[in-house]
């Protein structure tokens, strides 16, 4: 295995759902093992072997992970602040379709 590293993340900044969505989005490039500890989420990161030559370096992987973690944390914040509105819209708009 060419490289691996572990990130230990503060759960209040990066809740489990945010970490899971990040890992999902990068699954074609990185293999990540997610574990929960009290107040923290740890992430063991390796390149995806299937990605071969296209696999990122450790440095790129770290940058990718943090950018995605921050983006998903922001999405989560937007979701919380607008909670219920999407469902309300869909319910109101689609009432007539019996959905």
């Amino acid at each position: 295995m060419p490289w691996s590293f572990t990130l230990s993340l503060d759960e209040t900044t990066y809740p489990l759902g945010v970490v899971q969505r990040t890992v999902y989005a990068l699954a074609d490039r990185l293999t990540c093992l997610v574990a929960q500890q009290p107040g923290r989420v740890s992430l063991e990161v390796m390149p995806l072997l299937l990605a071969g030559e296209g696999a990122p370096s450790a440095e790129t992987a770290r940058a990718l992970l943090y950018r995605n973690l921050n983006d998903f944390a922001l999405r989560e914040r937007i979701r919380l602040e607008t909670q219920g509105l999407c469902e309300w819209l869909a319910r109101t708009a689609l009432k007539e379709a019996g959905l």
Partner: protein, 494 residues
């Protein structure tokens, strides 16, 4: 209804998604639940979510007008947004509108990418029976949709023309009371067109959809016949249909085999020469292959995307020179991006179009939610059958298969798609994911469907943001289905 976090600012956020297109100062794409979009910088997004956007700036007004924010003491945007949302999902209100009748599997071609959904010319047991056809017409009218498309598929449907005739006559007889708007289309190579077929098509206003894969050397390689004259015979068929039924009575689709990807210009030139005003550059789907051929015929989606971008650039240049030729998939995506209307295209819907929007009556009397689902049957996968043509539509639509498709067919709730800024314009395709990943939900990071739509939508959004006036006007003309010269506006920049 909703608990919103209180802040000192005078505005609140409405639901939106964002995506990084690039590192430029308008490199972030924001899309609202209703499909409106804006390009922002990272600093602007930060200001937006931290309630530090100054009022009275153009950006603030844009965000307000496009339903990314609302003012606490201002106008309530929700009824308007619900109306927009309803319009984008209007395909849900009518029931299945596209009804595909597979009248025979027999075909005179031996296309390599269609090994599993055809039978030899003289093969028996591959034709739809008269009784099954009668039942299928009953199912068609059980759909409440006021607008219906009846499409005849094969194999080669003209080899079972008596069945086509029976169905058209039965539908029209019934429709004298029902009064729906019904369109008939025959998907055909046009090799078996004769005067009798043309007379009937003229009498009943039937349109034809054919396959034209490019110039003769490509078309004939893709579609071998014993006489090696597939291209010439299809062109002859196109000419005869146009002479008898008018220029618009025939459209053409392109199937792109691996070799085709080397010839974007030659394929487009062929469509110009044959005077089509639309070309549809579709990648091969994974359904028709025999497993042994997959290696040879399939290609990575990245190769298709490179081909598509080259083709689109060439089409834009040609349109700039006064040639009217639009690309079908780009036109659909642009409709989703730039209008509040649904295109009606079954593969780009959420909830997925299979079953809800389309039904396939197979030659053996089975009913399927899509053409792809019935092709999987020929590959040995019978699990996506809704039931028999003898069962009422209500029973078919309550089949466990529909439950499975719906549970995996709402893009807004799928992993990956739920956070994707393209979800208002994209769709869910559980059958494609089932075919490629053996799972109707599938994993977006490994999904060819996602790779294609992600790449093409990103490309179109970049063209809308950065394209010169010609590019913008050409894209708008495709959307409006008008000639470039008839467009008064200098261009649309979101």
């Amino acid at each position: 209804m909703t608990v919103l976090l209180a802040t000192d600012a005078t505005y609140r956020l409405l639901p939106f998604r964002f995506m990084r297109l690039d590192e430029s100062d308008r490199g972030l794409l924001l899309t609202a639940e209703t499909g409106e979009y804006l390009f922002l910088s990272e600093a602007q997004l930060d200001q937006l979510v931290n309630r530090r956007l100054p009022r009275h700036t153009p950006l603030y007004k844009d965000l307000l007008a496009r339903h990314f924010i609302y003012e606490i003491d201002g106008h309530d945007p929700l009824p308007e947004m619900a109306a927009q949302y309803r319009s984008r999902k209007s395909f849900l209100f009518g029931g299945p509108a596209l009804h595909l009748f597979v009248v025979t599997l027999r075909c005179n071609h031996t296309c390599q990418y269609c090994q599993v959904s055809r039978a030899p010319l003289g093969g028996s047991g591959h034709d739809l029976s008269a009784e099954h056809a009668r039942h299928a017409v009953d199912r068609l009218f059980e759909s409440p949709s006021p607008v219906l498309t009846v499409e005849f598929q094969g194999g080669e449907p003209l080899l079972a023309f008596d069945r086509v005739r029976q169905i058209v006559e039965a539908v029209q007889a019934r429709n004298s009371e029902e009064r729906r708007s019904i369109r008939f289309v025959i998907s055909s190579t046009l090799h078996h067109l004769d005067e009798q077929v043309l007379d009937f098509a003229q009498e009943h206003d039937i349109h034809f959809s054919t396959s034209l894969d490019g110039p003769a050397f490509l078309h004939d390689a893709n579609r071998p016949t014993p006489e090696r004259d597939a291209h010439a015979r299809t062109l002859d068929g196109i000419r005869r249909v146009r002479e008898r039924l008018g220029h618009e009575a025939v459209s053409a689709l392109t199937t792109l085999a691996a070799r085709s990807l080397e010839y974007p210009e030659a394929i487009i030139d062929e469509y110009v020469e044959q005077q089509f005003d639309s070309i549809s550059l579709r990648p091969l789907s994974p359904y028709g292959f025999a497993h042994s051929s997959r290696q040879r015929l399939d290609y990575p989606m990245a190769r298709y995307v490179a081909f598509y971008k080259q083709a689109l650039a060439y089409l834009i240049t040609l349109n700039g020179q006064g040639i009217r030729l639009s690309e079908g998939y780009a036109s659909l995506l642009l409709t989703h991006i730039l209008t509040p209307f649904a295109s009606g295209y079954v593969d780009l819907r959420s909830p997925a179009g299979a079953g809800i929007g389309a039904l396939v009556y197979n030659y053996d009397g089975g009913v399927y939610p899509s053409d792809e689902a019935r092709m999987l049957l020929e590959m040995g996968e019978a699990g996506l059958r809704l039931g028999s043509v003898e069962q009422p539509l209500e029973t078919l639509l309550r089949s466990p298969v529909m439950g499975l498709l719906l549970s995996a067919g709402i893009a807004e709730g799928l992993p990956g798609c739920a956070d994707c800024a393209f979800v208002p314009y994209c769709g869910a395709d559980p059958i494609e994911h089932y075919a490629r990943q053996s799972d109707p939900v599938g994993h977006r990071a490994f999904s060819a469907f996602c790779q294609k739509n992600m790449a093409l939508l990103q490309h179109l959004f970049r063209l809308l943001r950065d394209g010169d006036d010609l590019t913008q006007r050409v894209l708008l003309s495709w959307l409006a289905r008008r000639r470039l010269a008839d467009l008064p506006v200098p261009g649309y920049r979101g």
